[in-house]
């Protein structure tokens, strides 16, 4: 895989910046660094990085605000580093446009792997919709056809919408709210609270072992993702 042209690291601790830069040296040609939110937004606007690694504990501004601002500026993936182990915070960040989050202390190897996955996904999602194959399951977006081992699987419209939404996100974790918005189009009154029940029923149809799912993965307390790229 080709290296990314540039990556931006927004992190106030110099030592962690060094560690992250070392970890991502193989992933990108050029690595920009910023120590504050304002600096980071400025660099993002001028350099248009292909990936941003954003630390939440910045001295000058709330991480969520920086994330939202970055999302307005860029379509590039954003990986958030957080010292707090809080699902609520993850949900907040994903809803604010982050693509992935890593909790401190993290493994540099894992960070590099996540960065690569995000770059790959960002490039492939630009391509036209095409059949996707996941663990023996073939999904054909154009014809809304789902097959396992040559046998067609019948999904309800909601199940199809959920699967399609997750697969289209290309392995990105979608929060419950994001899935609601995509599937029910903000129609309140529909049984949104049963999303988890629909997911369970969907898994019974598409997974080879529904009690040990491999296609639709639960991100506890946050949402779901399809195991598309990793």
């Amino acid at each position: 895989m080709d290296k990314a042209a540039s990556i931006l690291i927004i992190e106030d601790e110099p030592q962690i910046r060094v560690a992250v830069r070392d970890a991502l040296r193989e992933v990108a040609d050029r690595i920009g660094e910023a120590a504050t939110g304002a600096e980071g937004l400025h660099a993002a606007a001028s350099e248009r990085p292909e990936l941003v690694v954003l630390d939440l504990g910045l001295p000058d501004s709330a991480g969520v605000d920086v994330c939202r601002e970055l999302r307005r500026l860029l379509t590039s993936p954003i990986i958030v580093l957080s010292a707090r182990h809080s699902e609520d915070e993850k949900v907040l960040l994903l809803n604010a446009g982050a693509d992935d989050y890593v909790t401190k202390p993290f493994s540099v190897l894992e960070l590099a792997a996540r960065a690569r996955a995000q770059l790959r996904r960002a490039r492939s999602s630009a391509a036209a919709p095409s059949p996707v194959t996941l663990h023996g399951l073939t999904i054909e977006p154009a014809t809304r056809r789902v097959d396992r081992d040559g046998r067609q699987i019948h999904l309800t419209p909601i199940e199809w919408q959920i699967l399609h939404t997750l697969v289209t996100a290309g392995g990105r974790t979608l929060t419950h709210q994001q899935i609601f918005d995509a599937v029910w189009s903000r129609q309140f009154g529909s049984p949104q609270q049963y999303l988890r029940v629909h997911i369970t029923n969907l898994r019974r149809k598409i997974e080879s072992d529904p009690a040990s799912p491999r296609i639709v993965i639960t991100e506890p307390g946050v949402g779901y993702r399809a195991d598309v790229v990793r």
Binding site: Q15, I16, D22, A23, P105, V108, Y194, A211, S212
Partner: protein, 533 residues
């Protein structure tokens, strides 16, 4: 020690002493008043002079004039000297009329039947008038006493409600009690069942250093009964009410004793019924005052607790940030160095990971102590939870160990209302333990079923199991199996936190031995029935 006053009867204000009597004259109700000697001399003299004057002109006056003058004298005497004097004069006048003014004169005989009528009419009128006067007088005094009581009580009530600090209200109240009852000493000891006797409140304010006659105050408060002491008896001696020099009265609000009022005087303290009634009202206000002081204190305490809680939240957040940031740097740099082939760096990384776990344990412990686990129950399916738990435990598999799931995929999905993250943490902890104790190439069984209103998750291993004696202790914080080396694993909080997390979601976590050997941990969570669309 006998109780001075009958239970339930309000203790009263006392006046067997001249000094007290004077000070409290306005409150005394003189139903058995003995008139001053002066009034007797005066009215007897008036009677004598009147009789002499009329007798000297006996020939020229009518019997009716005599009767009317005597009536006037009797009424005047009973108005100023009281009932006894009035009645005495009425009888004397009766005899004088018969003896001196009715024929036959100078003997106790009645001449005409009409004279009988005059005599009886006089006596009846004199007695009835005397009685009416005495009653009116008593009622006037009583009314004045009531008015003074009401004024004092309303003053006390407004003190209770308006004083800036609750303690100030009690001090003012003591002033009123002491001045009204005329005792020389008067203090309040607040009391509560859990805190015992509090700091003494006197007319000069709170006196923290003053030592309570603890056993006595404690005893009065616990029994809710008054107690009297005579100085001669010494502490703890039995004594009945008359002659008491110290009186301890329980102060109660809604049948709760909140303190003790201690009265003392150089002379025996004895209260009559109206004083007892008045004192009962006073003690009730004093009790309300103490209760108000307690409520104010509790409100302040609650505010302080909230502030402490907020500080702790902030501390938790900053500890988690401040400790994890350097750990992140250490781990990242060590890992990078290890990748370059530095073997010592791998050890650094390992220790950094261990420190990270300890930080997590500490945070958990402080959350557990402070009730800081937040729970957000949601509609979730059992299968989703089982799948996530199994996925999370994949990293722990080794030595050919495996996890087997027992889920009924034919029936409709099992649904419950629980916090997914907390429940996952419980199952994750149970799976981690089970995998640790199950022998190599063994399998851990993870299952779920519906039982009534509950989803029942089971994690079963075929490890050594847990002795019956230990099966509850394992859920206590810092429990560690006797065979476990001190530096293995974590702080021993896992199961205690897991149980706590289950309980805050209206679930439970229990242990039972597995038939044929091994352990079964049973987690129940609330199940719900939903309508599928």
């Amino acid at each position: 020690m006998t109780t001075a006053l009958p239970r339930g009867a309000p203790p009263g204000a006392g006046t067997s002493l001249g000094r007290l009597r004077e000070r409290l004259a306005s409150l005394d109700i003189p139903l058995t008043q003995t008139p001053p000697r002066l009034a007797w001399f005066f009215w007897l003299a008036v009677l004598g002079i009147g009789t002499f004057a009329m007798y000297s002109v006996q020939a020229r006056i009518d019997q009716a004039h005599v009767v009317l003058l005597y009536l006037l004298i009797v009424l005047g005497a009973s108005a100023s000297g009281g009932r006894a004097l009035g009645l005495t004069l009425a009888v004397v006048a009766f005899i004088l009329i018969d003896y001196l003014f009715q024929p036959p004169y100078n003997e106790f005989a009645i001449g005409k039947p009409l004279d009988w009528l005059v005599l009886l009419a006089f006596l009846t009128t004199a007695i009835v008038a005397t009685q009416l006067l005495a009653r009116a007088r008593a009622e006037a005094i009583e009314a004045r006493a009531r008015a003074i009581e009401v004024t004092s009580l309303s003053r006390l009530a407004s003190e209770t409600l308006n004083a800036g600090r609750a303690e100030d209200a009690l001090v003012r109240m003591l002033e009123v009690i002491q001045s009204t009852l005329g005792v020389s000493g008067c203090v309040i000891w607040p009391w509560s069942p859990d805190r015992g006797v509090g700091e003494c409140i006197t007319r000069d304010g709170i006196e923290p250093k003053r030592r309570a006659p603890n056993p006595l105050v404690q005893r009065v408060a616990e029994r809710g009964e008054p107690l009297t002491l005579s100085v001669d008896d010494g502490l703890g001696a039995e004594h009945s009410a008359p002659g008491a020099r110290e009186l301890f009265l329980p102060l109660g609000v809604q049948s709760r004793v909140v303190g003790v009022l201690a009265l003392s005087d150089e002379q025996p303290i004895v209260f009559d019924p109206p004083k007892q009634r008045f004192l009962a009202a006073l003690t009730y206000y004093a009790a309300l005052g103490i209760d108000r002081a307690r409520l104010v204190r509790e409100a302040e305490h609650a505010a302080a607790l909230r502030e402490a809680d907020r500080l702790k939240d902030n501390l938790l957040a900053s500890v988690s940030h401040d400790l994890r940031t350097p750990l992140t740097t250490i781990k990242a740099l060590a890992q990078t160095a290890a990748l370059r082939g530095d073997t010592a760096a791998a050890a650094i990384e390992e220790q950094a990971d261990r420190l990270t776990r300890l930080v997590a344990d500490l945070l958990d412990l402080s959350r557990m102590k402070g009730d800081a686990f937040r729970v957000t129950p949601d509609i979730n399916t059992a299968e989703d939870l089982i799948g996530a738990a199994q996925r999370q435990a994949q990293g722990l598999l080794g030595d050919g160990k495996m996890i087997r799931t027992v889920v009924d995929l034919e029936s409709p999905a099992l649904v419950g209302r629980f916090d997914f993250t907390h429940s996952l943490r419980i199952l994750g902890n149970l799976l981690e333990n089970a995998l640790r104790y199950t022998p190599a190439a063994g399998s851990v069984e993870l299952g779920v079923r519906r039982d009534g209103d509950a989803l029942v998750f089971t994690v079963a291993d075929n490890g050594p199991g847990i002795p019956a004696a230990e099966s509850e202790r394992i859920f206590q914080p810092f429990y560690r199996h006797a065979d476990t080396a001190p530096d293995v694993g974590r702080a021993g909080l896992g199961l205690s936190i897991a149980r706590r997390l289950a309980e805050i979601q209206q679930g439970s976590l229990t242990y039972e031995p597995r038939p044929g050997g091994g352990s079964v941990f049973v987690l129940t969570l609330p199940a719900v029935d939903i309508e599928e669309d």
